[in-house]
């Protein structure tokens, strides 16, 4: 193969990889956008009337009332009520602010479930621990834990 042919072949390969990567990114982005708008749902082992007496939103979802839509549905098999919520379309549902709003929403749904089922939200801190060395891995674990209540598949 001549040098020119090799160069052409290489450029064609790079271009092909680029196209595939771009297409993949579009697919990922498309799904990310869909996910951003998706209803987030928890199943709470209580009736709708117990969770939202008189139609009022339960704590702490009530504090987000102007930014979210909420719907209730009977859960099959006597499992209680499916409580679904999503961010209202608008500026706060996109970008970094959107991600933060989603974390807030996930936390609120989880806490609403805990409050309805056990009566209080479990408190994790303070807890006994030894010396926390300042390491990269330690910082990653700390950051992951700080955000963990608002992350996940919910």
């Amino acid at each position: 193969m001549s040098k020119a042919a090799r160069t052409t072949f290489l450029l064609a390969g790079v271009a092909a990889v680029g196209v595939v990567a771009q297409k993949a990114a579009q697919v990922v982005d498309k799904h990310a956008e869909q996910d951003q708008d998706r209803w987030r749902v928890v199943t709470i082992g209580r009736t709708q009337e117990e969770i939202a007496p008189g139609g009022s939103l339960p704590r702490p979802l009530a504090a987000l009332a102007d930014r979210i839509e909420v719907r209730f549905r009977h859960a099959p098999g006597g499992r209680g009520t499916e409580v679904a919520a999503r961010l209202v379309r608008g500026s706060s549902s996109r970008g970094a602010r959107g991600a933060e709003s989603l974390r807030e929403l996930r936390s609120a749904l989880r806490e609403a479930k805990e409050l309805a089922e056990v009566g209080e939200v479990m408190v994790g801190h303070p807890r006994p621990h030894g010396k926390r060395a300042a390491t990269v891995m330690g910082a990653i674990v700390d950051a992951a834990e700080d955000r963990a209540e608002g992350e996940g598949v919910l």
């Binding site: 199943t43 082992g45 499992r79 209680g80 996930r106 989880r110 479930k113 805990e114 089922e117 056990v118 009566g119 209080e120 479990m122 408190v123 994790g124 801190h125 303070p126 807890r127 006994p128 621990h129 030894g130 010396k131 926390r132 060395a133 390491t135 330690g138 674990v141 700390d142 992951a144 834990e145 955000r147 963990a148 209540e149 608002g150 992350e151 996940g152 598949v153 919910l154």
Partner: protein, 389 residues
């Protein structure tokens, strides 16, 4: 107070830490009387399970005395001697109400981490990574016990702490493997691993009516314990080929129920062990599933395999074809201790279940690092190092 903490990969130390406090109304504070090392701790200590943080207090199998009670606690009062299930269950969610306490929806305050790893979050557990709640563990003078009415059980008078200690984790874990593995009268059961959990799985299988129980390991002292204290048969896999031996023992069928009680750091004598070691050390797989593979290959057609050993994420060369074509039922779980502990304490009182022999080394907490070294490296016949804070 003094506590045994994880300081980094294969580093433990006893440190002075703050005492725990009541944080929720359902909490009690327990003064720890005895707290046991567990094989699953070794995965954390060795760095195989991420999300440990330097300074974390480890330990999840313990017995103690209630010294402080939250305002919402109804079943316990100061002075009660309690054994505590290692997994924390709220008692009110769908999973707890259906006896699957380790799957509790409400006791892991860090659900985002396990959801990313496994697609859902199990409940929290004492001293077992920030992925599973970041709760301070029991290798300490005091420990906070959330949802105490659900997870702490008063130990009956006359039952020694040395025996009841293992009702916290090893005994219910083993029992669950035999129970949910479907052991019934007339079954032949094979158990991989002769540690405390494997021994208790074997004993449970016998009590559930199994006609023949065989335990597989390579550590002579542990196999001797199986024969002497459990009453099961043994196979030393360094002396014989396990699969042909099991086929011979079972009339060519294979065991009806296979229980794996080894976990992610399995050993074997075959080439697959070397393969798994290389891949695990290169972080190309997180777990070495040698015993699981063997259990699947050994099980009879239509039999069941229960995975009790702790696994973190992904494995390689999983014999899915054998699962499908032999029609196997494969299950696994972290222990649903609350489901079994009252019954197990009664059986302990009747001497149907004895566990004292497991605590081969009882040490002060200040010897925590030494105890884990003995336990990990099977020094001096160590089966379990138990600490007395």
């Amino acid at each position: 107070m003094k506590a045994l903490t994880w300081r980094g990969v294969n580093k433990l130390a006893v440190e002075n830490v703050d005492e725990p406090r009541i944080l929720n109304t359902s909490d009690v504070i327990v003064r720890v009387l005895l707290t046991a090392s567990c094989g699953s701790d070794l995965h954390l200590i060795g760095g195989y399970v991420p999300t440990m943080r330097a300074g974390d207090v480890i330990g999840h199998e313990f017995i103690g005395e209630v010294v402080e009670v939250g305002s919402g606690v109804r079943k316990h009062r100061v002075g009660d001697r309690v054994v505590v299930a290692s997994f924390i269950g709220c008692g009110a969610c769908y999973y707890c109400l259906n006896d699957m306490y380790s799957l509790c929806d409400n006791t892991n305050p860090n659900p985002g981490i396990p959801e990313a790893l496994w697609g859902a979050s199990p409940g929290g557990i004492y001293g077992y990574t920030h992925a599973l709640g970041g709760f301070a563990g029991s290798h300490a003078e005091y420990v906070r016990v959330p949802f105490a009415d659900v997870g702490a059980f008063t130990v009956p008078e006359g039952l020694s702490s040395e025996r009841a200690l293992f009702a916290s984790d090893a005994v219910p874990t083993g029992w669950m493997g035999a129970d949910l593995g479907g052991v019934g009268p007339g079954d032949v059961v094979a158990v991989w691993g002769a540690g405390a959990v494997g021994q208790m799985a074997a004993r449970a299988a016998m009590l559930l009516g199994a006609e023949r129980v065989v335990v597989i390991d390579r550590i002579p002292e542990r196999l001797e314990q199986v024969r002497n204290f459990i009453g099961a048969e043994t196979i030393d896999y360094e002396d014989t080929s396990v699969l042909p031996e099991l086929r011979e023992l079972t009339g060519g069928r294979g065991p009806d129920v296979c229980i794996e009680a080894v976990g992610m750091e399995a050993h074997s004598t075959g080439a697959d062990y070397l393969y798994d070691q290389v891949k695990q050390q290169l972080r190309l797989q997180t777990d070495r599933p040698t015993a699981v593979r063997e259990a699947i290959m050994a099980a009879r057609k239509g039999g069941s395999v229960f995975v009790l050993g702790v696994f973190g994420a992904v494995v390689d060369k999983f014999p899915l074809g054998a699962v499908i074509n032999k029609g196997l039922t494969v299950r696994g779980a972290q222990q649903h201790g609350q489901r079994y502990i009252p019954m197990l304490l009664e059986r302990m009182q009747r001497d149907e279940l004895t566990t004292e022999h497991l605590a081969t080394h009882v040490l002060p907490l200040s010897d925590g690092a030494k105890g884990y070294d003995m336990f990990k490296n099977k020094k001096d016949g160590c089966v379990r190092a138990v600490f007395r804070p």
